[in-house]
Subunit: 507 residues, 2 copies
């Protein structure tokens, strides 16, 4: 055969190392230092502002020539590693963020070594993902013949679920005609406490936020079921088309569970889609005592949840399950000529992930989940979920027992919202200013990282415990330090600053 350019094969480049043993040695050093960084994390500050020197190290011109692997790692150790977000630390309770684990981190190296595109086909990663999805269904009591997909997280899971909901319920070919083809406005319902990703999804899907009807909650921050029914009836009367109910399991702000069974019943009666956003709370199903609170979740048409929150899997690891696999596939399937399948070979296989979601290229997220569940067994995750809930109850009791602190919401799950009220003489604006400043001081003094939220219009320090390293002593420390710093602020008259408009800037 022709060989138009000669037979010399020695002039070709690759990105492989010239010295594999040096790369092995570097890998060993990385493993040692990463494990040590986790083993000793409790002894180090939870957080520190990125230094000027590090910022300079991370603001460099595009490197033209090679610096080598060891130099790249050294710069990571110098400029990046000392500045974690903090969520690997035992006293991180901000937003809803998981901890990660040592084996989870190592599994990411394994996944990236094999580096498959897990879009489908006959290779190991596809089977691992199928196994993980089967386990997820089993964990949550969801039907075995439902379809599922690992995604980047709860926002994406909610988007995929609502995309299926929109297409399956619209009553015409939305994929072809678009949302403008609807005869009435397509309406989605959830409580005022639903996660912002629901609104983002509704907007992205072209429905518009006018299509999202937010229903009031009761004193426990659970959706007002009667108000929901009234809203649906009113919207029907106005010519709109109610298509979907979103239940929260649980709400991000306070950890409240909607009455999931009642919502399922309404959706069934009204012929609507039922989506449950179980970002973290769905995993409460792992604890037998908490599981009854989720009654009705198994009736959802689509169920979104995260493994990187309350199962402590490293980012990213979200999941969407859809009861009607055909509806799921119908929302996304597209098979151009260059993605044609075969009965044999690599392109064999029935289920192609790209037909069930937005991504075509997909990493091997399933491996870290599969290995982690095997490492610990699912019962230990259930025990840790329960431990985090008990820790929240412990903190609740501490707050209730501390006169200078004030609990701002019930504690149904793993979230505690409170503030420093001091001597009880402060106005609401003063309390808001003190709360915001106290939160920042807790971070700056490397005490702990809760996050700031608003509960019924009042600023609150919010402790959401999805952390397998937290101990009760950490919560003791938080309360002790919150009282100490709060007292300092009170003494310095920061409350009066707020009234003068000089409160710390928050936006």
């Amino acid at each position: 055969m022709a060989n138009p350019k000669g037979t010399s094969m020695t002039d070709e480049l690759s990105l492989d190392p010239e010295n594999w043993d040096a790369m092995r040695a570097l890998g060993h050093r990385m493993v040692d230092e990463m494990m040590t960084s986790l083993e000793t994390v409790r002894e180090r500050p939870i957080w520190q502002s990125v230094s000027e020197a590090a910022r300079e190290g991370l603001d460099q011109p595009l490197p033209r020539g090679p610096e080598g692997a060891a130099k790249a790692y050294d710069d990571f150790v110098r400029h990046v590693l000392p500045y974690p977000m903090g969520n690997i630390h035992p006293r991180f309770w901000g937003w809803v963020i998981g901890t990660g684990t040592p084996l989870g981190a190592l599994a990411e190296m394994l996944a990236a070594t094999m580096n498959p595109n897990v879009g489908g086909g006959d290779h190991g990663a596809t089977w691992v993902e199928a196994q993980v999805l089967a386990w997820c269904r089993e964990m949550l009591g969801y039907p075995a013949d439902s379809s599922g997909l690992l995604v980047s997280g709860g926002s994406m899971a909610n988007l995929v679920g609502l995309a299926v909901a929109r297409n399956a319920t619209a009553g015409f070919d939305v994929r072809k005609e678009g949302v403008a083809g609807a005869s009435g406005r397509l309406m989605v319902y959830g409580s005022v406490e639903i996660h912002s990703s629901i609104q983002k999804a509704v907007e992205l899907l072209g429905l518009g936020s006018d299509s999202l009807r937010l229903i009031p909650v009761n004193d426990a921050f659970e959706i007002d079921v009667a108000a929901l029914e009234a809203a649906i009836a009113a919207d029907r009367g106005a010519g709109h088309r109610p298509i979907c109910i979103v239940g929260s399991a649980a709400t991000v702000n306070t950890g409240a569970f909607d009455d999931l069974d009642a919502l399922a019943e309404i959706a069934r009666r009204e012929g609507m889609w039922y989506h449950v956003d179980g970002a973290f709370g769905a995993l409460a199903a792992l604890d037998p005592d908490l599981r009854p609170r989720l009654r009705g979740m198994e009736r959802a048409d689509s169920l979104a949840f995260d493994l990187h929150k309350w199962m402590y899997i490293p980012y990213e690891a979200g999941c969407i399950l859809v009861r009607d696999a055909e509806a799921h596939r119908n929302a996304f399937t597209l098979t151009p000529g260059y993605l044609v399948r075969a009965a044999r070979g690599l392109s064999a296989g029935e289920v192609w992930a790209s037909e069930y979601g937005i991504q075509l290229s997909r990493g091997f997220k399933a491996l870290k989940i599969w290995m982690s569940i095997k490492e610990h067994g699912i019962d230990r995750y259930g025990a840790l979920v329960r431990q985090n809930v008990e820790q929240a109850q412990y903190l609740e009791a501490l707050v209730r027992g501390t006169p200078a602190l004030e609990l701002l919401a019930p504690v149904p799950l793993n979230i505690v919202c409170f503030r420093y009220r001091g001597d009880g003489t402060h106005t609401e604006p003063q309390l808001d200013a003190m709360t915001a400043e106290l939160l920042v001081r807790l971070q700056e003094e490397a005490v702990a990282i809760p996050s700031l939220t608003s509960v019924r219009g009042r600023k609150a320090i919010r402790v959401a415990i999805t952390n397998h390293r937290t101990r009760r002593e950490d919560l003791d420390l938080l309360v002790r330090e919150a009282v100490r710093i709060g007292g300092q602020l009170e003494g310095a008259g920061i409350g009066s600053l707020a009234e003068a408009g000089g409160a710390p800037a928050t936006h």
Copy 2:
């Protein structure tokens, strides 16, 4: 202060190892075995069907109790590692899939150890991502004041770009009112060769595929610019609202570049958004000789591309750049109470990724990119892009010089589409059947993995080289084996099977 449950702190669980040294030793073993698997990948089969035993190992009940980290790894080595997709191998050229690198895999372990949620705030990962985005702009000649976001891949990058396009051009508040608020159909334009993710995005955004106008291509598979102008004019005449032009850099099927500058000019003149899908071809900008072909790409309003394709970064690593940072933010910003920012502390910082895309939780994708660019320097990536293009030209010459093979499309970049035509006596259905079977045999006999596509209605074996391990000798082998296997098929009369309806099942 109260301590309602006593002071015993020893009864609390965590997922950390009891024996850190054992975890270190396991990590060393993993590093050694992963590096060896890459060092010796050329010597092993590129692909094999997942065995029955492995499938059984990956179809187990949910583990209730712990199996331990070592057992989890052993099972990975037994059931998963032997069944790669194949894209780490030098002879993988299917679809457009990158190779990954050893340091890229190690970097994923580092990222998952720190395990930040890179949604924003003052911690190291945020700064690394900002650095990587700055480098991406510099690499592609895109404006320094544009905004950007790392995403999972090209499909997501296209979705984000088109979401911004929709919202910025609709002329009313799409986020609030939804697509149904438009006075005429919002139209998006691209060639018949654009990637399917564009259609997926248009459908997801609620525009409907009726809003996607596919324009014919010329003999070089480039968009017919005159036909595009005519279509826009006709749609305006019909009362539609042309909002966006999508340029391909390059097309997935054959690697053709649209006339990006001409498209920019039309978009400017028509007041439309200009999105460039540069999933792999945008990286051709790294080679000075190829760069002129991308003239006009820098004028795009939004630019989507992947680092996990032609920069060989492990999955997932995509990117979207948007010229008008404010338009980008306006498409996604939402700041509920629980995501409030502060002027100091962890929640400080101006740019929050969640305001520029769909995700709220985001992993630390930037680290592997940052470390890889530092390791090799950007010039070496340019040299590898050029090497892959020269390898495609080498294969083109081999095919042209081999009478039993037939080239089915021009080779403007790194993609070669060909088929086995044998003695030239076969009908088109026979040739299609032979091509599909030849493709599967190449995989089953572990020769190489191209993928199957259709070029102007004819089935083609498509070799897309985004592989830093490929050598010219690998392409020699492909041609030699394609001729050998093609001859066997011809001899066995598989062509006649096709006419009898017995061709291998493809769907």
